[in-house]
Amino acid sequence: MNYEEILEKLVKNNERIMVMTAENRAAIRNLPGKIGGRFIDTGITEMTLIGMASGLALRGRIPVAHALASFLTMRAFEFARTDVGIANLPVKLVGGFSGILSDGNGPTHQAIEDVSIMRGIPNMKVFCPADEDDMLICLEKVLLSESPYYIRYNNRKPEYKHNENFEEGKAEIIEVGKDINILTYGALFNEAYNAYKRLKDSGYNAGLINMRTLKPADENIIIDSLTNCSLTVSIEDHFLKGGLYSIIAETALKHNVMGKVIPFAFDEKWFKPALLNDVLEHEKLTPEAISERIINEYLKIKKNNGK
C-alpha cells in the first residue's frame, strides 16, 4: 500500500481519522473523491488548517494535516505551538517537500530548521522517515498515537530494506561500528547508506543508524556510539543548529559522555537550489563526498591519537 492507500484504510477503519490539506495534494491526490467529508481542503491557509485541526481534535478526531513543510512549520508555527502544543492534541502535521526534497524551489521552501523548531514545542513529537518504505512501515503507529506529531513526509525510493519493527524513540540499527558510526534521518538516508557501504568496502568497521524519531530520540544509541566508537558522524538535511547534531550534543551533556563527532549539515547557510542530484553534488552530500570526508577526519583522529 502506498501513503494515500494507508490513509484511506485508516479513514475507513477508524472514524477518528480526518485528512486535511492547505491545498497541497501531492501525497493525497486521489483521496478527496474517496472519503467524502472526512477530507478537508482549507486552501492556502496554514494557520486556519492547524486551528481547524485543533478544533477537530477537541471533538475526538485525529486530523492528519498536510502542507508544505516550510509554511506548515514556520508561517503557522504559533498555531502548532499554541493550539496543538499547549492543548496536547493528537494532531498530525505532515510537512511535504522538507529539507533537500524542496530541490529547485529555493530558500523560501527549504524547511531545514523544521526539526529544530517543532521539537522545541512541549508535547510535540517528530518523525523523520528515511524513505518511502520506512515512512509506510512506521506510519500507522505514528498516526494513531495520542500525541501531536510533526512528520517529515519522505517519498524517496528506498535502497535498503528496512526493519519492519517500529517503536517510537527507538532507532533502526543497520549496524553498530567500532571505527565510524553514521547517525542519520530523513532524505539523506540513501546517501548515508551508500557512504557506509563504501566505508566498509574500504576496510573500516563502520555502522549506520536510522534515527526514525528525533523526538523522542534514541539516546541509548547516541551514548553507545559516543562511548564505544572512534568517530560518530551526523548526517542531516537540516541547519547545523537544532537538529540531530544538537540532539547528540544535548544527549552527551545530559549523560556526561563525550566522543568525537563530525556533522554533515547546513551551517549558517541555505543550500544551492537545483534538481536533487545536483544539490547533492554541489553540497558535497554524495556517498563519495561523504565517505571521503569521513575517512579524512578519521585518519586525522588516528594520527593525533598516535602522537
Binding site: 482549507t42 491557509t45 486556519t48 492547524i50 486551528g51 485541526a53 485543533s54 478544533g55 477537530l56 499547549i86
Partner: protein, 285 residues
C-alpha cells in the same frame, strides 16, 4: 422576552460587573474590554446556549469560544453566577494556587479552549463546527472576537474558509467597542465598513446594540442558523460600559486599582457618580 427574564439578565450582568471590578486590583485586569462584552456573554449563557453543569462533556452541548481572551473576567464572572465556577475561586485571581489569570484556560470548568494570542479561536471553532455538521448534530458554535482582533490576518483567512465550507452552525460575535489596546480602531487600521466586508466574504451579517437585552434577544431568538452561511454579528458596545470614569477612555485598557478605588467604582456602578481615580494609567503594550 418576559419581564422576569429581562430583570434576571440585568441583575446577573450587574453582579458580573461587580466581579470584574473586584478583579481590577491586586495585579489588575483588562477592565475595559471585560465590561464591554458582559451583557452579550450573560445573555448567551442565560438565554441562548445549551451549556450547563450537566452537559459540559456532552458532544451535543453548544460551544462558546472567547477568542479575544483578555476579557475573561466577564466570562469567569458569568460562569460563577450560573454555577459552573465556584464564586470563591474568583478571589484566587492571579494567585499560584489556582488558574484564574489574565487569559482563559481549560483548567476552569466551562472553558472549551485557551486563548490569549489573538486570531486563533475562530479557526479552532471552525474545526468543532465542521465536526458537528459532519455528525449531523444541531449544536451552535459561538465565537466572540474583539474588534481589535480583526487586525490579525488569521481571522480573515478563517473568514474565507468558513464561508467556503458553509459552516452555518457558526456564529461569530464581534464586541465592537471601537477600541483596541491603546487606540481607537478607526484611527489605526480602519475596519469600516465592517458589515460590507463580511457580506462580501459570503457571511450573513447582523448588527445589534450589545448592551440592550431586548435588542440582543430580538436577534438571537429569531436567528436562523443552517442557512448555508456562517453568521457574523456586530455587537455595538462601549468599552468600560457601566463605569463612566472608564467608559471610552483609551488609557483605561488595563488597570490595577487600589482597594479604595475598587470601593469607589462599586459605588459608581450603582449610582454612576464618577470616581476619583488616581492610579496611574497603564500602557501594557
Amino acid at each position: 422576552m418576559t419581564k422576569e427574564k429581562h430583570n434576571e439578565l440585568k441583575k446577573v450582568a450587574y453582579k458580573v460587573r461587580q466581579h470584574i471590578i473586584h478583579m481590577s486590583t491586586d495585579g489588575g485586569c483588562f477592565i475595559g474590554a471585560s465590561l464591554s462584552c458582559v451583557d452579550i456573554i450573560v445573555y448567551l449563557y442565560l438565554s441562548f446556549l445549551n451549556i450547563n453543569k450537566n452537559n459540559l462533556k456532552s458532544p451535543d452541548r453548544d460551544y462558546l469560544f472567547l477568542s479575544k481572551g483578555h476579557d475573561v473576567p466577564a466570562l469567569y464572572g458569568t460562569l460563577a453566577e450560573i454555577g459552573l465556577l465556584q464564586k470563591s475561586r474568583l478571589k484566587n485571581h492571579l494567585k499560584t494556587n489556582d488558574f484564574i489569570y489574565w487569559h482563559p484556560n481549560t483548567n476552569i470548568p466551562g472553558i472549551e479552549f485557551h486563548s490569549g494570542s489573538l486570531g486563533h479561536l475562530l479557526s479552532v471553532a471552525m474545526g468543532v463546527a465542521y465536526d458537528c455538521k459532519l455528525k449531523k448534530q444541531k449544536n451552535k458554535i459561538v465565537v466572540i472576537l474583539g474588534d481589535g482582533e480583526l487586525n490579525e490576518g488569521s481571522v480573515w483567512e478563517a473568514f474565507l474558509v468558513a464561508a467556503s465550507l458553509k459552516l452555518d452552525n457558526l456564529i461569530v460575535i464581534v464586541d465592537r467597542n471601537k477600541f483596541q489596546a491603546n487606540i481607537e480602531t478607526e484611527k489605526l487600521n480602519k475596519l469600516e465598513p465592517l458589515s460590507d466586508k463580511l457580506k462580501s466574504f459570503g457571511w450573513s451579517v447582523r448588527k445589534i446594540n450589545g448592551h440592550i437585552f431586548t435588542e440582543i434577544d430580538g436577534l438571537f431568538s429569531q436567528l436562523s442558523v443552517h442557512s448555508g452561511k456562517p453568521m457574523f454579528i456586530i455587537a455595538d458596545t462601549i468599552r468600560g460600559k457601566g463605569l463612566p470614569s472608564i467608559e471610552e477612555r483609551a488609557d483605561r485598557w488595563f488597570v490595577n486599582f487600589t482597594k479604595e478605588e475598587v470601593e469607589s467604582l462599586l459605588h459608581e456602578l450603582k449610582t454612576r457618580e464618577m470616581s476619583k481615580l488616581t492610579s496611574e494609567t497603564l500602557m501594557v503594550r
